[in-house]
Structures are given as structure tokens and as C-alpha cells.
Symmetry: C2
Subunit: 335 residues, 2 copies
């Protein structure tokens, strides 16, 4: 049906192996090179990746396993990974495991079956065995957004701790002392880090942390909505609040609007991740911006490096910096 190397051979009068060699960058006489090129064009030839894969046991396919396809943070990363890989001829198989332990395992098995050449994984907590199994199979692996102790493996992280640190520090510098935080689920690595940063900056400034100002949400919109209102209802409400992810930031803003709370007069605000929202809300919201594009690109690049058997710098820990956008949602508090 489709044209094969054999057809090119016939067309050019050369042998199959010469064509194959040319295809793989070997040396061929200039004259033949042109001839082959011509044949490829006119016969519209494309290598059969499957035959090649069978022979080389490389699929030129990378598996990306994420918690959910219904979360823009993850899919944006995937989008960037895919862009980079595509340029090198790799295709991306995306699986999501719907935040489910069992599914995570099952989909991983699926990627094994597909014989992906490499894997990018954003793992669930407490599933270190999966990571170990990938490594045991010697499949190049890049972890995103999570470190696993005692496991050697390339990782792309965001410096969440200092992201929080910097954000909260700006509030402190501007005179705030009662600063609320809407933190995430503490079995999630990033959420732990973001809370740690909050606590550390208080320590560094010799301030005491008031545990009533620490609210733990679940990274969902509702969380932000409810917890912000809880924060405002406590005896001495905070003068500033720091919300630690996209969804909860939306929820908080909705709560703030609904309760007619004035930013920054009644509360100073730093949110997370949501650039669109931040740009639109008046006054413009201050936010922590994660380098989504860079996360994806870095992960893809590291993986490509490993796929090329380049093991320099292994295990690499890329710790990407967030950006703190200070806008109009922060007020100075007179000491």
C-alpha cells in the first residue's frame, strides 16, 4: 500500500540497505543522494515507524502521565512538553489518572506496553513504588513538581518554598503582621513547600506565627471561597492574605467580591498562578506566577538529553523560580 524502502530502491536502482543508510544519516554519493531524495518526493515515501521500532526497539514516543486533564496547570505543561518533543520527532502520549492511585498504576502499565522511550510523570503522593519500577526498567524518567527521597531521578521543581517566602516577605515589608494563608493539602509536596515558606519568613523576621491564620484547603475553588470567609471572621482578622493556588485564588476573589470586601483597603491580597484573573480584577491582583512554559520545556529537554544517552549531570534537579508580580492589591500598613 504505502511506499516502502523497497520501492525507493526500485526507483533508484540502488539497494535497500543503501537507502536505509541514507535515511539514517550515513554517507552516500552525492549523485545517489539526489536520486534518493527525488524518489522520496515523487513516491511520497515515509518510513514505517513500526518496522523501525521493531528493529531498533525505539518507539520515538514519550509518555506523559498527569493527575488530571481537566486542570489547566497540568495541561499547559503538557502542551509545552509536546512542542519541544515534536521538534525532535517524538510524539507524546498523554494519560491522566484522574488523581487516582490505581489508575496511575494502570496507565503506567499502559505506557510500558506502548514501549515509550521515556516518561514524564507528575506523581501522586505515596506512590514511590511506581517511580522505582520505571527506573528499574531503565526507562528515562523526569519527575515534575515532586521530589522522592532516596531515588535517583531527574526532577523539575518549582521553588515553591521561596515563592511563598518572597510573597509573604513583601507583605511583611509593607508592615503587615497578621497575614493569613490559604494553604493546600499537606500530603502534596508543593503544598507543604508553600506553607513552609510562609512559616520560614515569619521565623526569619522574628515574628510569631498565629496558627489561626493558617487555613488548609484542598486546592479547589470552594476551598478558597469558604476559607477566605473563615479567615475574615476570626477575632482579629488578617490584614493580608496569601492564597496558594489557582483554583483557591478564584474562590477567594469570588468571596471577596461577594462580601464586598475592599482590596487593598480592607485586605491586601496575593494570589497564585492566575494571570488572566489578575490582569482583570480591579485593583490588579498581585500574584505568584509559576513558569509553566519553562517547566514543560525543561522537562522535555532533560528527557531528550537522557534519550540521547547523555547522562551528564544526572540526577538533575532543576529548581525553577517563580515570579512575583506586585500590583495594586497590597496596601502599606503603618507600623
Amino acid at each position: 500500500m504505502a511506499t516502502t524502502i523497497k520501492d525507493i530502491a526500485k526507483y533508484t536502482g540502488l539497494s535497500i540497505s543503501t537507502i536505509s543508510k541514507y535515511l539514517n544519516g550515513g554517507n552516500v554519493l552525492e549523485r545517489n543522494k539526489e536520486l534518493i531524495e527525488e524518489a522520496i518526493q515523487t513516491l511520497n515515501f515515509r518510513v514505517n515507524e513500526m518496522a523501525r521500532g521493531l528493529r531498533t526497539s525505539r518507539t520515538m514516543t514519550v509518555g506523559v502521565l498527569i493527575p488530571s486533564l481537566e486542570n489547566i496547570f497540568f495541561t499547559s505543561i503538557v502542551s509545552n512538553i509536546e512542542s519541544v518533543l515534536l521538534k525532535e520527532g517524538y510524539s507524546t502520549i498523554v494519560c491522566d489518572y484522574k488523581e487516582d492511585h490505581q489508575l496511575e498504576e494502570q496507565k503506567l502499565q499502559f505506557l510500558f506496553d506502548k514501549m515509550v522511550d521515556g516518561i514524564v510523570l507528575m506523581p501522586l503522593p505515596d506512590n514511590d513504588n511506581l517511580v522505582k519500577e520505571i527506573i528499574a526498567r531503565k526507562i528515562p524518567l523526569v519527575l515534575i513538581d515532586r521530589m522522592i527521597s532516596n531515588v535517583n531521578c531527574d526532577v523539575v521543581l518549582v521553588d515553591n518554598l521561596n515563592a511563598s517566602y518572597d510573597a509573604v516577605e513583601q507583605l511583611i515589608i509593607r508592615g503587615h503582621r497578621r497575614i493569613g494563608i490559604i494553604a493546600g493539602p499537606q500530603n502534596v509536596y508543593t503544598a507543604q513547600e508553600r506553607l513552609k515558606g510562609y512559616i520560614r519568613v515569619f521565623e526569619d523576621y522574628g515574628l510569631k506565627v498565629d496558627s489561626r491564620l493558617i487555613k488548609q484547603g484542598d486546592y479547589q475553588i470552594e476551598s478558597g471561597y469558604h476559607l477566605l470567609q473563615e479567615l475574615m471572621k476570626i477575632e482579629q482578622p488578617p490584614t493580608a492574605v496569601y492564597v496558594t493556588n489557582y483554583e483557591m485564588t478564584i474562590g477567594s476573589i469570588i468571596a471577596i467580591n461577594e462580601n464586598n470586601i475592599k482590596i487593598p483597603d480592607e485586605i491586601s491580597f496575593i494570589g497564585f498562578d492566575n494571570q488572566d484573573l489578575a490582569r482583570i480584577v480591579k485593583p490588579a491582583l498581585s500574584i505568584v506566577v509559576q513558569p509553566v512554559q519553562k517547566i514543560g520545556e525543561t522537562a522535555a529537554q532533560v528527557l531528550l538529553k537522557r534519550l540521547k544517552k547523555d547522562l551528564r549531570g544526572f540526577p538533575l534537579v532543576a529548581r525553577l523560580k517563580t515570579q512575583l508580580l506586585i500590583r495594586d492589591s497590597i496596601k502599606k500598613v503603618e507600623g
Copy 2:
């Protein structure tokens, strides 16, 4: 390296072809069946999809090509497609073309190279040639959210026209006459349909359409934000507004909050797609809900059917109904 049929043959003392037949559902003696099963378990055998693919020229892979991976509407659909396909052993290669004509073509070529068995496509306007090429290659294709005239091909659509019709009709029934619409870009099929529904219901009720109440946005948050404010600033502002997609609904709500416009007293509101938002905003928002899950599932099921060479009902046009959730954001207007 990995165990092959050959290994199973050795272990069981049977021949390769017997094993193969068993693997493909053929008849084998009960005794041998158990033996083979045992071998598969202990040797941890998995068929080599590539070898199989080379032989059968089936990859058990489906390509899904969407405009963007950074839009939750699309990725939710992908998520559901993937779930259904996975159960049948198909893997999903997701590509996005970042709303770019050229990229769309390039990524499609990529899917061809990967020899996907089928394709699910959410096409850009004015790229009918791509669709035709897929069909010319006899690759099973399911189109989502867009019809192409003069082309025979399975399609999964949402009945956007009647979605709008029903929504606006509810406003009319409750006495509204000046109803604003924030429509989408008119080169997009769904956006056309949604506007048509608005116009048709006015006609059916013998009411005149005031073109000043029709605003055309670009399906982005900013659009909603600005256009809602424009609507409220015209001489006789609308008593109700209907916003025709997710992002613009967010934008509109932000504008409404910011300008302290009271829902439903100052304006009745029907939004689109955003269930989370709708649930949280007070008063609860009325919205048009697209059957995201069903879109994905239907597309996957139709494709699976075609992949099994079942051509009954071709070309199928699945026209899925939206759901109109009436909540507290609509006020009755006294005639």
C-alpha cells in the same frame, strides 16, 4: 530482553502459533489454555505491539487533534475520549495545534506518520482540505463541534442553536425584552449557532432584535469583561444578558462584581459552561451546560465502531443536547 511468544512456547512446550492463536482468542485445549496463562504470568509476558502492528498494520492508537491544550473544554473532552478508548486497548496521542492553521496541518501529518488507526478532530474554520485528506486516506475520522458541508464523515455536535434558543426563551418567558448577548467570533461554527438561536427565538416570539444588544467577543475572558460593561453603558441597557462561553462568563462576572451590579435585580444573567463558578457565585448562576463527558464518550464510541469496520449509520451526526440550569440569577420582569 523482554519475554516473547517464543519464550512462552518454550515454557509450555507448545508452538508459537498456538500461543499466538490463544492470544487472539482462538480455540485451544483447556489444559493448554491454563498452561499458557501460567507461563504468561510467571514470565510476565506482554505482546509487542510494534511487532503486531507491523504485521497487522494496526497501531491500536488514536490521534486526537485539538485547538489548544490550554482550554479546559477541549481537554475535558480528551480526557473522556481517552477513558473510553483505553478500555478497548487503544491509546490516545494528543496533539494541539495552538489554534494555528499551519500547525494543524503539520500535526496531522505527524499523526499520519504515527499510523494512527483513527482520528478525532476539532478543526479550525476554513481547513476543510485537511478533513478531506484524512478521508482520502481512509482513516476513520470523527469530527467534533463542527460540520463540514459536502463531506461525509461522522460528527459529534452540540445543539448550540437550541441551547441559545432555550436560554433566551426562558428570559423572554420571564418578561425580558431587552436581552443582551455576548456572542463569540463569527467564523467559528459554534459561535454562529449560538447567535442564531438568540435571533431565532426573538423571531419566533415576534420580537424585534436590537443590534445594539448584540456584542461580539472572541471567547476570551477580557472580552466578557469589556463587553458586559459596554452593554450596561448603552442608552437603554438590557435587563438580562446571555453570555455564550466559559471564559467570557468569567469575565462578565468579574465586571459585574466590580461595578457592583446586582444580580438579578439590576440584571438577569445566563452564562455558559462554568459549573464551578455557577455553583459558587451568589446568587447561584443560571447556565448552559455542555455535555462534555458525553461529547467525549460519543466521539470515542463512534470511532471505536468504525475501527471495528462497523459502518452502520454512516455518516452519523450526533447532536447532543445541552442542559439549561435555571438558578437564582434570573428575575421576573413585570410586563
